[in-house]
Subunit: 149 residues, 2 copies
């Protein structure tokens, strides 16, 4: 994980990022007004934040249930063979249903967040995960999501 900046972020940078998190399509004109700067000044700041990868990109927030992904779950995974190199995250990367993958300091090695259409689809996904990465899985089904920011 390389460091990505020599200079730190000032208050205006933080303001711009806060605004862009709230509205990823905010125009430079809007941002300039809130920051009290000219459009060009805001533009160069935003481009710099993007180049430094402080801002990694922009995305639409989509309702998973609207896409038919009615079931979400945390899946904790434990490698079964300690003698093998543990490359589970790389092996699992191609599986679309896996939204995030973290290594953790807990009973298990990794925690995934997955989204599927149905309990049946979760079962199939777990089989795929176990077969692909040679791991045991422990799943915690999400009943309701109150907020995700």
């Amino acid at each position: 994980m390389a460091e990505n900046s020599k200079e730190s972020l000032d208050e205006i940078d933080r303001l711009l990022m806060r605004e862009l998190v709230v509205d990823g399509r905010a125009t430079l004109a809007t941002l300039a007004e809130k920051a009290g700067l000219s459009i060009s000044a805001v533009q160069s700041r935003v481009r710099r934040l993007e180049a430094r990868q402080v801002i990694r990109g922009y995305t639409a927030k989509v309702d998973p249930e609207a896409l038919g992904l009615m079931l979400s779950a945390f899946v904790a995974i434990t490698p079964l063979d300690p003698s093998q190199p543990d490359d589970a995250p790389a092996r699992l990367r191609h599986i679309d249903a896996i939204e995030s993958c973290h290594s953790v300091a807990g009973d298990e090695s990794y925690i995934l967040l997955v989204r599927v259409a149905s309990p049946r689809a979760l079962e199939q996904l777990l089989q795929e995960i176990r077969a692909t990465a040679n791991v045991a899985t422990r799943s915690t089904v999400i009943l309701q999501t109150f907020y995700e920011r």
Copy 2:
């Protein structure tokens, strides 16, 4: 959680959403080209997806570590007093460090994802969570995030 559409999404809607998840700032012209439709047609579809809340908004993806939030953790919480109404998510909603809040079908009632600057800040946050919602907490520190889509 009310249903939000009578008509289902067609292939073009799905294409547009995929593109907008990859690039939340994609222009209507770009989307129109990929969809093989006119700009107006794409515009009305995107506006309709937004109105139906299939697309819930747009956001900049910001590197938490660039903001000084060096430590992320899952926090599982258990209400301590079953005789009280369980409104933990509402009580915790105002805490900025909490990125997401789900109720789950597992040993605990809720799982939060939190981001803080340091172990010391995590300790303070846990105290705040326990005091605010009258709950026990069990934390799992994230060592590395391989991907979050």
